[in-house]
């Protein structure tokens, strides 16, 4: 058994114990280590036990209190959502007018402290100008308005939940927005054959942190409704780390030498959705974008406007 695998199983074995058993085990450490060596198969088949939120007493570390899957990895599975208002603008921003005056305060941008480390995006000069143009024409240009797939990392902090389902071969992330879905390959799938709206994702564990390298995105997606943008050279390294049973820290390092002067980082907490029977619901937004996209091609005198 490799040493890292041993420690993983040991952690899992400890996490699966009750707090009392864990305290007792501290005095019986050699026995616990022996069990971790001898019973890996049983451990992998065992029903995972979610440690109660308060179970950090009796000598257990916070890491041991995290819910874990049978392979000992932190259990990221569940329905999560961001609350940072970052979809309006990932930079620090005050509340502001809606681009559609008719919507009144309903369409106003919610304020946010920003999720960009240091607050500023290190744009090259031309790219900073492009962002301003994008913002000015955001009603027309924001891919969200067309119900287009959001790309990574924007999918993470849109105002909709997403669900993680982790398996040994793939970690799946399904997003409520537009039914977007990602397959994160846990073994190298080889080079991407094309660019994709949601990119090409390869995952690995660094200790208890789930790390995903996202490459081969197209240049059509934005970071937010403020027109922050990238090229198809974008490379995103995401880090998902449970900080408690119902909280996760999400970090993403953004690299794109065509657009930025240096790599930069976003960081925000994600919250587990705890409503009873919570589920991703259907947000097939194509039909909400059809008038915007195709309205100019309607037969004159027909359509929803004509019916009112």
């Amino acid at each position: 058994m490799r040493l890292d695998a041993f420690w993983r199983r040991l952690r899992a074995a400890v996490a699966a114990m009750s707090a009392g058993a864990r305290a007792a085990a501290a005095t019986l450490l050699p026995a616990v280590m022996l069990a971790a060596c001898q019973a890996p198969m049983d451990q992998e088949r065992a029903t995972p036990q979610t440690a109660p939120p308060g179970a950090t007493a009796a000598g257990a570390t916070a890491a041991n209190a995290l819910p874990r899957n049978p392979d000992g990895r932190p259990k990221l599975d569940g329905i999560w959502q961001a609350l940072a208002a970052a979809n309006w603008d990932i930079r620090p921003h005050a509340a502001s007018h809606s681009p559609v005056p008719e919507l009144g305060a309903i369409g106003a941008a919610a304020p946010g402290l920003g999720i960009v480390e240091g607050g500023e995006i290190p744009y090259q000069p031309w790219a900073a100008e492009r962002q301003k143009e994008n913002f000015a024409d955001r009603l027309e240009l924001d891919p969200e308005g067309n119900c287009f797939l959001p790309g990574v990392p924007r999918a993470t902090y849109m105002p909709y939940p997403f669900q993680i389902l982790a398996t040994p071969a793939h970690v799946m992330i399904a997003y409520q927005y537009a039914g977007a879905v990602r397959t994160i390959h846990m073994s190298d799938p080889g080079p991407a054959p094309a660019n994709f709206w949601m990119g090409w994702s390869v995952g690995r564990w660094e200790g208890d942190t789930f790390v995903v390298e996202v490459t081969d995105q197209n240049d059509q997606t934005w970071f937010d409704r403020a027109g922050n943008h990238h090229s198809d050279a974008l490379r995103v390294v995401e880090r998902y780390r449970l900080t408690g049973p119902d909280h996760m820290l999400y970090e993403a390092t953004i690299e794109d030498p065509n657009v930025f002067t240096r790599p930069w980082t976003i960081r925000l907490p994600l919250y587990r959705r705890l409503e009873e029977n919570v589920a991703l619901m259907e947000f097939k937004c194509v039909e909400f974008a059809e008038e915007k996209m195709y309205g100019h091609l309607r037969k004159p005198g027909t359509g929803s406007a004509a019916n009112e």
């Binding site: 992998e44 899957n69 799946m172 397959t183 039909e287 091609l297 037969k299």
Partner: protein
């Protein structure tokens, strides 16, 4: 975009396909009630949670027609020789590099197996239709009320083929496809689906339109919210995953079904390479009897790629723009 077309006609798949036909022949001598491929003593692999492991990418591509052709009215199964002949004929029909005099027809005919992915084989069961119940292999007749609704819709479509995007079918609009469902049916391309499982959920990701259907296994009650794809609940019946879906919308319209369609799907892994997919449609408002389809989905090791249907939907601009151009031309001719 559809990226797996070239590989699909490679020799590797063909040789494996012949193996499956031979397998089907070997097991068809079993009981008539269980005419499915796979060894009787096949032990379904388990996930780390001890549940049957259905995970992987599966293809519903199959040459067998949904309904039994009239010329085979009394024949539920093909012999091995008939199956090979049928496959050969269907392959020839779809894969010919045909040319036509008329430019529009020529373009249409240019769609050969580079584009189409109907598969290379009939169902491994050698059935003559995917519909296995009623026994005649045909979808039961619509009720008079459902027929009247279907006629009214057809009449409306004839009068208003493309006034606006809502007049087009759900596939044109990239809202749903028959291959995505539920229920899932083979269609011209993107017939793959990927299953991922944890202890509490089964996720079924369709290649077509990239819908991820997330099926809870905890027996939770249903809400009252209707959705295009309904509201799925799953449970294990032995080694079979049973998914029951309700709460469709009145616009989902699966082959004339109403929003109250009760859909029951069954997923059974009968061998390492075949996931038997069955579904029953029960909707007395729409159909004169329930009906059941069986598709032996084949495992594929090919990767499933993003199909950004709506994002690349230039057709809608073409369809609506073409309809307006035709109207302008007609108006000009009248003046």
């Amino acid at each position: 975009m559809h990226l797996r077309v070239k590989e699909s006609i490679g020799p590797g798949r063909a040789s494996r396909a012949h193996g499956l036909v031979a397998l089907a022949g070997a097991v068809l001598v079993q009981t008539a009630a269980a005419q499915v491929p796979g060894a009787e003593d096949y032990e379904v692999p388990r996930t780390a949670f001890g549940q049957p492991d259905l995970q992987g990418t599966w293809s519903n591509a199959v040459l067998t027609p949904l309904e039994r052709p009239p010329e085979l009215a009394d024949k539920a199964f093909l012999t091995e020789e008939e199956a090979l002949e049928y496959q050969r004929r269907r392959r020839e029909e779809t894969d010919m590099d045909r040319r036509a005099e008329n430019a529009a027809e020529d373009i249409f005919d240019a769609y050969n197996d580079f584009w189409w992915d109907w598969g290379e084989n009939i169902a491994a069961t050698r059935r003559t239709s995917l519909v296995i119940d009623p026994p005649d292999g045909r979808i039961p007749a619509l009720t008079p009320a459902a027929q009247a609704r279907a006629d009214a819709r057809a009449q409306y479509r004839q009068m208003h083929p493309a006034d606006g995007p809502e007049d087009r079918n759900l596939s044109d609009r990239c809202i749903n496809w028959p291959s995505a469902g539920p229920p899932m049916l083979p269609t011209a391309y993107n017939n793959n689906f990927q299953i991922a499982q944890n202890e509490e959920y089964v996720m079924i990701v369709n290649e077509m339109i990239h819908d991820a259907r997330i099926v809870p296994l905890d027996g939770r009650p249903r809400g009252g919210v209707r959705q295009w794809l309904g509201d799925s609940r799953g449970r294990w019946d032995g080694d079979t995953l049973v998914v029951e879906t309700r709460n469709f919308t009145d616009r989902t319209n699966f082959r004339g079904a109403t929003q109250d369609m009760q859909l029951t799907e069954r997923f059974t892994r009968v061998s390492d390479d075949i996931l038997l997919y069955e579904f029953t449609v029960d909707d007395p408002e729409a159909f004169t009897s329930p009906w059941t389809v069986q598709i032996p989905a084949r495992r594929t090791d090919e990767l499933m790629y993003e199909y950004a249907c709506h994002e690349g939907n230039q057709s809608m601009f073409g369809i609506l723009g073409g309809a307006r151009a035709a109207e302008r031309a007609a108006a000009g001719a009248q003046e």
